[in-house]
Structures are given as structure tokens and as C-alpha cells.
Amino acid sequence: MNTDKVVVAMSGGVDSSVAAALLEQQGYEVIGMMLRLWSEAGREDSNRCCTPDAMTQARRVAALLDIPFYVVDAKEIFRSTVVQYFLDGYAQGVTPNPCLICNRAIRWDFMLDHALALGAEFLATGHYARKMKDESGKMKLLRAVDASKDQSYVLHGLTQEKLAKTLFPIGDYPKSEVRRLAESFGLPTATRADSQDLCFLAGEDYREFLRRNAPGICKPGPIVSRDGQVLGEHQGLAYYTIGQRKGLGIASSQPLYVLAKELATNSLIVGREAELGRSELAAEDVNWIAGEPPSTSFRAQVKIRYTASDAPAEVRLMNGQQARIRFDTPQRGVTPGQAAVFYAGEVLLGGGIIV
């Protein structure tokens, strides 16, 4: 039995509820916590992570489990880090993934600090991922048992120190088993529709959010082909994603796709489907879970988006925090601003931001 204190990040959903119940069953002294994140004024009720509804639900679960539950204000730090990162990314012509920075700066920094201040040894979340300690005492981050639910991709920024203070109680179970466990614990099993929307977009298209919050970054400019031919006008680089086909408004003999964005000339580069594939990419700000890379050059499976499949590749280190990745076969949808995450089988080695 464990007698340590652990703070569980609770959302009111089935995953974090079961995580809390499992920890309680394992004998931990469990404390529930929810962060109050930032929402645009007037849209607080739609924030996906901390609506009054979600809070009520999490409170109910905490009451059922007879654990204390606290809501901690994180509005300002969330705005100044995560939302700012999102706006800055679009201003720089990339497609940022604010969940990555949220995990790094909010969950495993701000929230972990609050958990430790409450006297907890661990912060637990309802992520589908696993951690393990190897023979040498190093912490390893592993994919979830349920590959279809694996969320390790968004956790690639964790360090040894943070991983040592982290628990992923449901990473060992398939989703179906988590649901069954929820029932057996007498917990509400309703899940919100899986959504990849960002919490602070409150269910809205990100373009609308940008129009209101960063009107300056959305300047119209030319749509050009690889060979420099101007084909039309775009509404602002931020409104397009790599690989996008619809909504370009260009008459053409064959379908055109967004290939790249060129910030210096404010151009949207388009081309044919065959041109979408890229066999190389560079990643910066690379984090190694082990604290250091396995070697200066190694084979790995690489994921370039949360939903992408593994692609076999060669990873070469440029310096401590930069890497070049060469895929065995060209990959579509390589998007600057998203993460490239490297795996050796089940083990997540590290990852960085695609430039």
C-alpha cells in the first residue's frame, strides 16, 4: 500500500475520475485539483477544460470518492504563456500546438508546484501513457497500452525530474476497461465528445479567435506556386494549414494543396498532391526524456502530429537541442509548429518542434 499524498488533475471526465479512484484504491491519500484556465471574457461557460459544468462534475466525483477537491486560479499564467504562444506562433507563420506548452508550463510546472505545496509527492493525470523506472533508476515514458488512445505525444517535454513526480494511473488499461472500472467504482461514465479543439477556443473555429485577438497578423497576400507563379490571393497565412485543399479559391486543372507558408513575403505556397510529401525535417527545442539523446544518430519511429502514424526514420543530432529527421518514405503534412516525437518501440525517446 502507498501512503503518499497525490494530487490528481481532475476534469470531471471518466479518465481522470478513474485515475483518482484507482489511486485511492492503491492506498494513496488523494486530492483532486482543477485549474481555472483563461477564457475570453463572456465565453467562460464554453471553455472545454473548466466550464462550471466540468467543475460540478469533478466535484461530484470527488464527493463520491470522498476526497478533497480544489480549484486553483491559473488564468493569468495560462493567458501569458499558452495563449500568447498560440498567437505568437501564428504571427510567425507556423501552426502552434498550445497543448504542448500547456503541459510543460502549466500542468508540469504551475500545477505540479501547487501539488507539491499541498504536501503531495506526485501529480497524477488521466493521460493514456505509462512511466517506468529502469534498472539504472532512470524514468522512462512509454506509450499507453491502448495504442488507439495513446497520448504520450503531448508529453514529450517531460524531464526525468518531472516524470519522477508523475503518475499515469490509467495508462495500463484499454479505454473499454477504464469505462468498466468507472462503472464498478460507481462513477459517472459519460464522456464529452472527443475533441481536438483547444480549450480556450470554446468550441469555435480558431480563425474567429485570431480575428478578434490578433487582427494584425491576418494580412492578405499572394498564393503562389513553387515556381513563383501568382495564382490568387489568401486571406492571411494563419487561416491555412499545411496539406489543406479546400477553401483556396483557385480555379485549377488539378487539385491544389497548401505546401508551405513563407512569412518573409507573406506568401502561401501551393502545389500538386505529389509535392506534399517531405522526406526531411528539422526539429528544434528538442527534449530527451532520458536527459540525453541515445546517440548522435539513430533509427526511430517518428510521429509528426498527435494523430499521425509512426514513420520509420533516421534521427541525426545537429547539436543538443536540434535534430534532423530523414524519413524512409516521404511524409505528408509535415507542419512547422507541431512536434516531431521519436519512439523506440514503446519507449518515447524525446521530441522537438518542427521548424
Partner: protein, 387 residues
């Protein structure tokens, strides 16, 4: 866990619970019924009313039982304002921003929907309303003045008798919310000279869900809840007999034990104030240093998220509260603290510690030892948050 939030609510005293129980079971009748079940319930109701009247030093038919202190405030303010508007055309309401929301929000509603105008009386830096302030504002167009007896957030006691005198010199009705005060201050309505006075049982070891309003005979009042003729036509609805019995027993005990209870909590409270002011930097006592409820201390801590401090305290085993009771992690300084003119970075860091019959010196010392390091933690986390 150590409970230091007696101003929020108190546990029901065992004698009070014992007094209530028969009225759920064998004596469950409706006091309005003709038969003997009804007669026994009515007898219990009458006796409860007499007990309360005797503690208030008023007539039994001046005691109206309600569902809580907030309802009493609503009935007093809305009832008297509407009655005076009809009677004399008076349409001003005088009250302060330091009032409980049960009064201030009712005043705002009367302004928004019923054609009244509210004049918000200034309070001094301790949250006190001075009789001179009332004197300057009151006139023949004033329908009612409402000033609380003692403040729930900051403990300050107002000079009720003097304010009542000022009002009566101008022929204006005066109501006081005594919900927080009644646990420790004498509530002799005759000597206070008030026209109406609100009470809630759960602040003095009675059950939640029952309150009372003292209404001086002859005070014009429009009922806010209409229906049957209960409570002298002023508050419709079958009386909650077991709770009313509990109210009366709790109030009787409170009056009987007032001095002992005060003697118990006051030195313990002073001990907390002493250590907090000595051992924690950048802290001030909010409310009046002397004229305050004897079980009550409240502080403003610079650069602390009050809600987070409560979380840390709870995790460490101490139940306290802040000025802005907020469970949703969305801190806003309370109206009361804002009315004192406290800067936002101080007002957000409010802490209220209130003692009761169960508080021991060991509790107080444990608390005094735990608080300073937690405040330091909260300050570090706040820097974290704003970096």
C-alpha cells in the same frame, strides 16, 4: 481537521437537536390544523415564539419565523420599502456597501425593478458606518435605513443604537441584519431601538434553514411571500416546526451562555491576532481592532491568492474562509473589502478565522504554527503565477 469557520456556520448543539427530534416524528402536526396533532404543533410554535421574544425583549407577535437570515433581510427591506412607498411616497433606501449581499442585492433589485434609489453610505476604514453619515443622508424621502449589527467578513460592530436614534429623529424606519452578531452580542431590541432585526439560527448552534425577523408592532410591511395567513399574515407557508423549535432552543442557550462563550473565544482570538501580526510580514487586520465580534479575526495579506491559501490550509487540516468565498478559482476581491479602500493586491489575500465553542488553545497554537509557512508558500506560488 480543525474547524475555524464558525462565522460560516456552526454545528447544531446536542440539546438543540434533542429538542427538535420529537417534532419530526410523534408531534409532526401542522400548527394550523384543528385536531390535537395540530394543537401540539401550535403549542410548540407558540412556546418557541415566546422563548425568542423573551430573549429579544419584545412581544411574541413581533417575532416572524422565516427560512433563513437572508429571507429575513429580504422581507424587512423589500417589505418596508414597498409599504413606505405606498404610504408616503418615500423612495430612498440607505445602506452601505459593507452589508451582506442579502441586503445589498435586495436594495439593488428595489432600485432596478421597483423605482427606488439607493444611497450607499460610506464606511470608515474599519468598515464602520457612523451615525453622522446617516444623519447627513437621511431625510423624509427615506423609506428605510439598513445597517448591519456586526459584519460577517471583517467583524466590525456598528453603533446600532445611535444610528437607530438618528433614523427615528427623522421618522424613518431602521433595520439591522444581526445574523452574524447574535451569537455574541446582546440583542435586546428595546435597548437597541431598532424597528426590524434579522436572525439566522445556524450561526449560533441551531439548524440551517430557519431564521427570524423581529418586526416592531406597527411597522408597515408588505409580505414578500404570499399565501396562507401564517406568521401574522407576513410570511405565508406552513411553519417549519422542528426547526423553529431548534431556533428557539439555540437562541435561548446563546443568551444564557453569551458571557461564558465570549470569555472562551476572545483570548483565543487575541492569541491568533498576536501571532499573525508578529510573525507574518505584510499583513494587516481588517475590520475594527477593538469593536469587533469576539470570536472573529480577519486579515489582508499582500500578494496572496486568498483562495489558494484556504486550499493550503485545508490540505494542512484547517478549515478557514476568506472574504471572497469562491470555490471556482476565479478570485475577485469582495465588495466589503473593496468598500474599505483596500488595494486589490491586499484585498485578494483575505483570510477570516472565526472561533467557537469547540475551539481549544491547542487548536489555536497549531494554527498559529501552521499559518506563517503556508503564507510564505502561497506568496511564492503567486510569484510563480504572475511571472
Amino acid at each position: 481537521m480543525i474547524y475555524l469557520d464558525y462565522a460560516a456556520t456552526t454545528p447544531v448543539a446536542p440539546r438543540v437537536l434533542d429538542a427538535m427530534l420529537p417534532y419530526f416524528r410523534e408531534d409532526f402536526g401542522n400548527p394550523s390544523s384543528v385536531h390535537r396533532y395540530g394543537q401540539r404543533a401550535e403549542a410548540a410554535l407558540d412556546s418557541a415564539r415566546e422563548t425568542v421574544a423573551s430573549a429579544l425583549n419584545c412581544r411574541p407577535d413581533e417575532v416572524i419565523f422565516t427560512s433563513c437570515g437572508s429571507e429575513s433581510d429580504n422581507l424587512a427591506l423589500r417589505g418596508a420599502a414597498l409599504a413606505m412607498q405606498e404610504k408616503t411616497g418615500a423612495n430612498w433606501i440607505l445602506t452601505s456597501r459593507a452589508e451582506h449581499h442579502a441586503v445589498s442585492k435586495t436594495a439593488e433589485q428595489l432600485e432596478k425593478h421597483y423605482g427606488f434609489q439607493v444611497e450607499w453610505l460610506n464606511v470608515d476604514e474599519s468598515g464602520m458606518v457612523h451615525p453622522e453619515t446617516v444623519e447627513e443622508a437621511v431625510c423624509h424621502e427615506t423609506a428605510i435605513v439598513s445597517v448591519m449589527y456586526a459584519n460577517n467578513e471583517i467583524g466590525t460592530i456598528n453603533p446600532i443604537r445611535e444610528i437607530a436614534e438618528v433614523c427615528h429623529e427623522h421618522g424613518v424606519l431602521f433595520h439591522t441584519d444581526a445574523v452574524q452578531a447574535a451569537a455574541y452580542l446582546p440583542v435586546d431590541v428595546d435597548s437597541l431601538g431598532v424597528d426590524m432585526l434579522s436572525l439566522g439560527a445556524h450561526k449560533f448552534y441551531g439548524p440551517k434553514g430557519v431564521g427570524a425577523l423581529y418586526v416592531r408592532k406597527g411597522t408597515p410591511l408588505v409580505p414578500s411571500q404570499t399565501g396562507g395567513g401564517q406568521e401574522f399574515q407576513l410570511r405565508a407557508g406552513t411553519q417549519n416546526v422542528p426547526y423553529i423549535v431548534g431556533f428557539a432552543e439555540a437562541f435561548r442557550l446563546t443568551n444564557e451562555e453569551r458571557e461564558e462563550r465570549t470569555a472562551h473565544v476572545k483570548p483565543l482570538r487575541d492569541r491568533i491576532v498576536g501571532t499573525v501580526l508578529e510573525e507574518i510580514p505584510n499583513v494587516r487586520l481588517t475590520g475594527h481592532p477593538i469593536n469587533r465580534l469576539p470570536n472573529h479575526c480577519s486579515f489582508a495579506l499582500e500578494g496572496v491568492d486568498g483562495n489558494l491559501l484556504l486550499t493550503l490550509l485545508d490540505a494542512a487540516g484547517f478549515a478557514c474562509s476568506s472574504g471572497s468565498a469562491c470555490k471556482t478559482g476565479n478570485p475577485e476581491p469582495s465588495d466589503v473589502l473593496t468598500s474599505l479602500g483596500l488595494p486589490r493586491v491586499w484585498a485578494l489575500g483575505s483570510l477570516r478565522v472565526t472561533l467557537g465553542v469547540g475551539t481549544t488553545i491547542a487548536d489555536v497554537d497549531a494554527f498559529s504554527k501552521t499559518l506563517p509557512p503556508l503564507v510564505e508558500k502561497a506568496r511564492i506560488l503567486a510569484t510563480d503565477k504572475n511571472r
